[in-house]
Amino acid sequence: MSTPKRIFVKGNEAICHGALTAGAKCFFGYPITPQNDIPEFMSAAMIEAGGQFVQAESEVAAANMLLGAAGCGIRALTSSSSPGISLKQEAISYMAGSEIPGVIVNVSRGGPGLGDIGPSQGDYFQATKGGGHGDYHLLVLAPGTVQEAYDLTIKAFDLAFKYRNPVMILADAIIGQMKEPLVPWIPQGLDPDEGQDWGLQGAKGRAPRLLKSLFLDDGALAGQNEKLAAKYRAMQVETDQELFLTEDADLIVVAFGSIGRIVKSTIRKLRAQGHKVGLVRPITLFPFPSAVLLDLARQGKRFLTIEHNMGQMVEDVRLAIRTVADSAFHGQLPGNLPTPDDFEQPILKALEG
């Protein structure tokens, strides 16, 4: 068997390759560190692919361009980093309300406010709890490797169209800037008629289509909210996570994205010293792998949630296992690059109980 061809790329580039191979036809962006590789790459690659690239006047406009393009039933995306993602929330809420399948990439950085340009997981709440106004959720995918950045970008488009719901890829400066070998693959069976049964195209020979989130008639908004809620329940089947050495573990570390992979190195080292530690790395942050965690909790395992923030996902972990267990928490502060050494003592402490 021949080794599949590997390319050596940054996470940010992997996202671009993933979007292009998934058939994305429009990219709308705005410069902000640490995601600039994405619009820079797309400005040439999207045109080569026969698509459209617009450097918008603002993050607000970029997200609204996405609203329009995805509203035509075509695959489109925007990317930014934390402060820019805040500006996009208006259009994201409209996409959720109007059931428009835009893909939004957040290569997150430290906050609040201008924060810094280093990695952070401070946008977990914003990504998973809605982010903009109103009662909605995004599907949220958190890559932990460059390969996953590629794979999950392809998946993001599939899920966006499957549920007609915006999807966010929540990466960070580590995943965006690090390079790793990537095995590109081409998704098969893309439906050429995808989005054509509801997208805007001109009402020739049929009743007009209307994409809207305004529901003023008696009971209309209630109906829409119920419909969305049913969709969010249906999304639970998309839950995905990596389990690493959990079977015989006394302590389960829960960590996502870059922190998930860094903790893996710590766990390997502690395992070599005889400590029974395992890892659950949620790959979908919404839907959240609550059932997997509850199952592990019922086996009597203890929990430590590690995040690159002051404690956000830990609330979902605690919610998942609340009837049988609790989770300790270690928050890695922003401004320093996290290393495996940083997590040794917190894990050893949690092992002691």
Binding site: E57, V60, L67, L200
Partner: protein, 253 residues
């Protein structure tokens, strides 16, 4: 007993339903101008409507077109996305003065400057109508609104913005004209301007823009007839009618 008899025809793309607009409001006329223009040019089947926020948020109830709602002020950005995704379609935004000239100033300026092949119908009635008559960027000096009860004051609120002149100055713009629909003569001119704007789009020569000076009798606290007169006596003197840019006419010369 009197029976109402329709004495003129109207384009099929206009739906047969009573509008929610107040008596004497000019939105109905502006809607009809758009309907007539795209019908005359044979574009109805491929036109996509970009709605906005304001009284005209329900325009999709009156024009039988594929349509999408935009957040407040963002219609030109949404239109850009739609047009880029479907370059073979006719795309237009329909926006009021609060939407376009205040919260959406960045979007309209850059959309126009990029020369997006879309058309914007800008209905300027000098107030925020839907929210109850607050001051707009186009409110005239001295005009009383619910947020400038003493009248707009130049020192405090600045001067009303003349959008068509600004738009006409941008490189990507093919067509920019200000019209009124307060009398038959002006309506005829307005009809020509709207048709030309869509024609520019079919020729893919850049952004086209028509500002329609419009009444808001309810928020102006006027009768429809008084409001119509105000267009002539107060608005046109400050917002002069006429064409400010017509690349097509230049080419024809």
């Amino acid at each position: 007993m009197n029976q109402e008899i329709r004495v003129t025809n109207y384009p099929e793309v206009l739906t047969d339903r009573a509008s929610h607009y107040c008596p004497g409001c000019h939105h109905g006329i502006a809607h009809r101008l758009v309907a007539e223009a795209i019908t005359e040019l044979g574009l109805v089947d491929k036109t996509i409507l970009i709605g906005s926020i304001g009284c005209s948020v329900f325009i999709y109830n009156y024009l039988s077109l594929d349509a999408i709602e935009s957040p407040h002020g963002r219609a030109p950005a949404v239109a850009t996305g739609v047009k880029r995704a479907r370059p073979d379609k006719i795309v237009f935004s329909y926006q009021g003065d609060g939407d376009l000239a205040s919260i959406g100033m960045a979007e309209i300026m850059h959309c126009a400057n990029r020369g997006e092949n879309i058309t914007t119908i800008f209905v300027n009635n000098t107030v925020y109508g839907m929210t109850g008559g607050q001051m707009a960027p186009t409110t005239l000096v001295g005009q009383k609104t619910t947020t400038c009860p003493g009248g707009r004051c130049r020192e405090n609120e600045g001067m009303p913005i003349r959008m068509t002149e600004i738009i006409a100055s941008l490189g990507g713009v093919a067509f920019a004209e200000r019209v009124a629909v307060n009398n038959i003569k002006n309506i005829k001119k307005a009809q020509k301007a709207v048709t030309k704007a869509f024609e520019c789009q079919t020729k893919e020569i850049g952004f086209s823009f028509v500002e329609v000076l419009a009444t808001c009798p309810t928020n102006w606290r006027m009768t429809p007839i008084q409001a119509n007169k105000r267009i002539e006596t107060e608005m046109i003197p400050y917002f002069p009618l006429g064409n400010f840019k017509d690349v097509l006419a230049k080419e024809e010369k």
